[in-house]
């Protein structure tokens, strides 16, 4: 006997069960449009929580300590500024360096005194400095350049492979949908944006496009085969392709998300791995939204983009005419997909 999930997959394949991704595209695209507006508004209102590498911060260095216990440093900063993010490292074997949020002159002095007391050194042995927002300016600019080139090449490549630039357009719009959504999640939750997060964003971009290409390839296959037949309209072919690849989409999303979720949850709650956590969060959100958007945004958008083409409207009219003539119309399916 097939398991419920298998039966679900079987029914999706034959079209016995069909989820109206394309038919109800106004609903799905509407939801995404609202989501996008919200995700753009949140950062405008709340702003992003930029990490120390972007906004700069304070840095302390303690030389020749007798102990390299890192909790002393963390406590010293937390007592002065309770919500400060502290990164501690040991330098030269007997020195402590800690990096934290940008502190005021008064706070800097307080932390210096606490560090001196905690490590048993004179306050003169502690240097404090301020980090300029270097990473953000230098490396992000290059990453953006790369992004631009990648998008242009991906657009051309997909247009050539799929023989239609409308698939490229739908895929790239979906990609921006995913990036904006993830950025919105970051703004909403107030998680820090660090260089690691940027890497996570870049991965999302790769994943989003990858996922779309896999599903679009099935769409290409179905629409090509149905082009000369009168069984399905263009929109129905697209919808069937999405349904037929739905099991694959779910399985892939789960398998891609599991290791990331492992790092995210176990790392965050049990061991505390800050940088990996930054990457994992953006990846986790990105994988889920990437899978969602392929199904609910890319495919409906693509069928919408091609809706008006003369060849496709003509084919649709012929299909509907043939269906009207035939006695055994599948009423449920026909009305649902229109």
């Amino acid at each position: 006997m097939p398991s419920p999930f298998q039966r679900f997959g079987n029914d999706l394949f034959t079209g016995k069960r069909s989820i109206e991704f394309v038919g109800r595209r106004k609903l799905w695209l509407g939801i995404s449009a609202v989501l996008m507006i919200v995700c753009i508004l949140i950062p405008v209102v709340r702003g992003f929580n930029w990490g120390i590498d972007f906004r700069g911060g304070s840095q302390f260095q303690v030389a020749h300590t007798s102990t390299t216990d890192q909790t002393i440093a963390t406590d010293a900063v937390r007592e002065v500024k309770s919500d400060a993010v502290v990164q501690v490292s040991v330098v030269n074997g007997d020195g402590i360096r800690l990096t934290t949020d940008q502190l005021t002159t008064g706070q800097t002095k307080q932390v210096t005194n606490k560090l001196a007391a905690g490590y048993g050194v004179s306050a003169d042995d502690i240097t404090s400095s301020y980090i300029g927002p270097a990473w953000g300016q230098d490396v992000s600019r290059k990453a953006l350049q790369g992004l631009g080139v990648f998008l242009a090449l991906a657009f051309i490549g997909m247009a050539l492979y799929f023989r239609t630039w409308k698939m490229s357009l739908a895929a790239i719009i979906t990609l921006f949908h995913d990036l904006i959504f993830t950025a919105g999640v970051y703004a909403l939750t107030g998680f820090e944006i660090t260089p690691a997060t940027v890497i996570g964003f870049l991965t999302i971009l790769g994943y989003s496009l990858y996922d779309t290409v896999v599903v679009f390839d099935k769409v290409r296959e179905n629409t090509t085969e149905d082009k000369d037949k009168l069984t399905r309209t263009f929109g129905e072919s697209v919808n069937l392709a999405v349904n037929q690849t739905l099991v694959r989409s779910i399985n892939t999303a789960v398998i891609a998300a599991l290791p990331v979720a492992g790092i995210l949850f176990i790392g965050a709650f049990v061991l505390g791995a800050a940088t990996l956590e930054d990457i994992s969060l953006s990846l986790f959100v990105g994988i889920l939204i990437g899978t969602y958007s392929t199904v609910f945004v890319a495919a409906p958008l693509y069928s919408w983009l091609r809706q008006g083409e003369p060849a496709i409207s003509k084919h649709e009219r012929r299909v509907l005419a043939a269906r009207a003539k035939a006695p055994l119309v599948d009423v449920e399916n026909a009305t649902a997909t229109r």
Binding site: P2, Q6, R7, G9, N10, D11, F13, T14, G15, K16, Q59, V88, S89, V90, Y130, D138, V139, A143, G146, F150, L153, G157, A196, V198, I199, L202, T203, G206, Y207, L209, Y210, K229, L240, R248, N251, T252, V254, I255, A256, L258, P259, V260, A261, G262, I263, L264, I266, L271, G272, A273, A274, L276, I279, L283, I287, A326, L328, V329, D330, N333
Partner: protein, 581 residues
């Protein structure tokens, strides 16, 4: 029975994969035994620790670097670090004045020197020169007496306003005394030879052989756009066999240098006709307050290029050219600190990341077994082989080209689990689709592969494109990430072609899978297939003639009679049945 084509094909693929794994493993093993490779791949600064050099500008008191100068300095130092082939070194600014160079792993001495030889280049005219440099004179008593330290009361403002940088009225009594007393061995003190650009400078050459009193700066080192070492050709175009350094100036530098050369060449010509030697015909390339070279101006230089000739060897010409080119920082920098960092990450985060990743991987295994039953093992083995190949490649690259695995790279590897598994999922789902359409397993595997292959190649190309573009454009961390992403994409394709598909071809022939055992993950009845064993079938609703025709010839050839009948019937019933799907 002779081996059939798919089996032959499958065995050949698996043998190739075996050869690949064995070759990589052998290369790594021999590297470990004889070539200094390590079992664990080298790790980046964020995972393993590394060296951090903080440079701070050496300025006259009360001056500040501008952000333009700092940016220029950062890009020059980055060029130098990149030129030494250090991977993932980052050069960034700290605060408004410092430059931080992060180099993963141990910093070799040559690279360190190249970074630290961060310098300010100035071109100053020579006012006085003395060789060999002495700090004492023979007094009237016939004994050697050191020159006294110049008294601060001595006049230090020129009596007449100097007309140009070579005007000897720059030499005040105080400077004269300072010059006479200057000890070349004090050159290593960074503070002794710093002078504002518009004032004279007392210094020595690098070897401490000659000491100089130099006029104000006339051309800045940042005006030098290029410097190369090369053979000097005479005016007739004949190679003289001598080494020299060719300099190229920007427009501003060319104009200034043109003026200087006219004036200095005047001194040279005058001294030549008088049969004497005038130090003022020399101009000095001053790097960090030390005179690199002080050639005579033997001709008037117009245009933006000039040549320095002298007793150069190829090596010394190259060194000077590099110093002139890379030393052309707008501001001079000193090393403020040079730390070896053991990152917080290195000690705790790598471990926690690995534990979390392992748990995640275990969940993936459980999920695939649940979803694909026995077929899940194919996924698991494929992932295990992917992991082995990734490890071997990274270890080899780490040994051969000094690749370092950074945290960003680890993230790339973790994401790769999903991307890699997706190839198998796409493939399995396509096989299942073909089974649902009523094919036998063997032909379903072939037909599914034909279709899945296209999708996989298209999708992987997208990934590879992303990786390559990011690698070319990005720097530092992002590059490390792009590298692993690209690497695992290539490995993924290799595995799905050389392992997953061949294994499926072989499995398709086993009784367990071919009969569609409940636990095989390919149970046709569970998949709601049309074809249900010997002779029992119902018309397939979706298999169209076009679809069957587009499937592989191989699959068509391998159809059983029953399948063919089913297909024919399906094709015939297509018009009628097409309505309800």
């Amino acid at each position: 029975m002779a081996k059939t084509s798919p089996v032959r094909h499958a065995s050949r693929s698996l043998i190739w994969l075996g050869v690949l794994v064995v070759a990589l493993a052998a290369a790594l093993t021999s590297g470990i035994i004889w070539g200094g490779a390590t079992v664990a791949p080298k790790l980046g600064l964020d995972l393993q620790g590394g060296t951090e050099v903080i440079l701070t500008p050496a300025l006259e008191h009360g001056k500040q670097v501008t952000s333009d100068e700092l940016d220029q300095a950062v890009s020059i130092i980055r060029q130098r670090v990149d030129a030494s082939g250090v991977s993932e070194a980052t050069v960034s600014t700290q605060g408004n004045s410092n430059i931080v160079v992060d180099v993963p792993g141990r910093l070799d001495d040559a690279t360190k020197q190249r970074i630290e030889a961060s310098s300010k280049m100035e071109l100053r005219p020579v006012l006085l020169a003395q060789s060999p440099a002495t700090t004492s004179f023979t007094g009237s008593d016939g004994k050697s007496t050191p020159y006294p330290t110049p008294a601060p009361t001595l006049a230090n403002t020129p009596t007449a306003k100097p007309t140009d940088a070579s005007d000897l009225s720059w030499v005040t009594p105080y400077l004269q005394a300072k010059y006479e007393a200057f000890d070349c061995s004090s050159l290593k003190n960074a503070t002794t030879n710093v002078a504002p650009a518009h004032e004279p400078l007392v210094t020595c050459d690098d070897a401490g052989q000659t000491k100089y009193l130099l006029g104000p700066v006339e051309v800045e080192g940042s005006d030098i756009t290029n410097a190369t070492a090369g053979m000097i050709t005479s005016s007739q175009g004949v190679n003289t066999g001598q080494w020299g350094v060719n300099l190229t100036f920007n427009a501003h530098g060319a104009k200034a240098f043109d003026k200087v050369s006219q004036r200095l060449n005047g001194y040279y010509a005058a001294a030549q006709s008088a049969g004497t030697n005038d130090p003022r015909s020399q101009f000095a390339f001053v790097l960090d307050g030390r005179v690199l070279e002080a050639p005579q101006m033997q001709g008037v230089i117009t245009g933006n290029t000039s040549q320095i000739t002298g007793n150069f060897t190829q090596e010394s010409a190259q060194t000077l050219a590099n110093q002139l080119k890379f030393g052309a920082l707008p501001v001079s920098f000193k090393v403020q600190s040079s730390n070896t960092i053991s990152a917080t990450l290195g000690s705790t985060q790598l471990l926690s990341g690995m534990i979390a990743g392992a748990i995640g991987l275990l969940l993936v295994f459980i999920y695939t077994l649940f979803q694909y039953r026995t077929l899940g093992f194919v996924t698991i083995f494929s992932l295990v082989i992917a992991a082995a190949l990734s490890y071997l490649t990274i270890a080899l690259l780490s040994w051969q080209i000094g690749y370092r695995l950074s945290l960003a790279g680890v993230a790339g590897l973790i994401v790769a689990i999903g991307f890699t598994a997706d190839s198998f999922i796409v493939y399995f789902e396509r096989i299942r689709d073909e089974l649902r359409e009523g094919r036998g397993l063997e032909s379903a595997v072939e037909a599914g592969w034909r279709r899945a292959r296209r999708t996989i190649y298209a999708a992987k190309t997208t990934n590879l494109l992303a990786a390559v573009v990011l690698y070319i454009f990005a720097v530092g961390d992002v590059q490390g990430f792009a590298f692993t992403l690209g690497l695992t994409t290539v490995l993924d394709v290799i595995i799905v072609v050389l392992f997953t598909h061949p294994i499926m071809q072989l499995f398709a022939r086993t009784e367990f899978f071919a009969s569609g055992h409940k636990l095989s993950g390919l149970d046709p009845s569970a998949l709601g297939a049309v074809y249900r064993g010997a002779g029992r079938f119902r018309p397939a609703p979706t298999v169209g003639a076009a679809k069957l025709a587009s499937s592989s010839r191989e699959a068509a050839r391998r159809q059983t009679i029953a399948e063919r009948k089913a297909a024919e019937l399906a094709a015939a019933g297509d018009r009628r049945n097409g309505k309800d799907d």
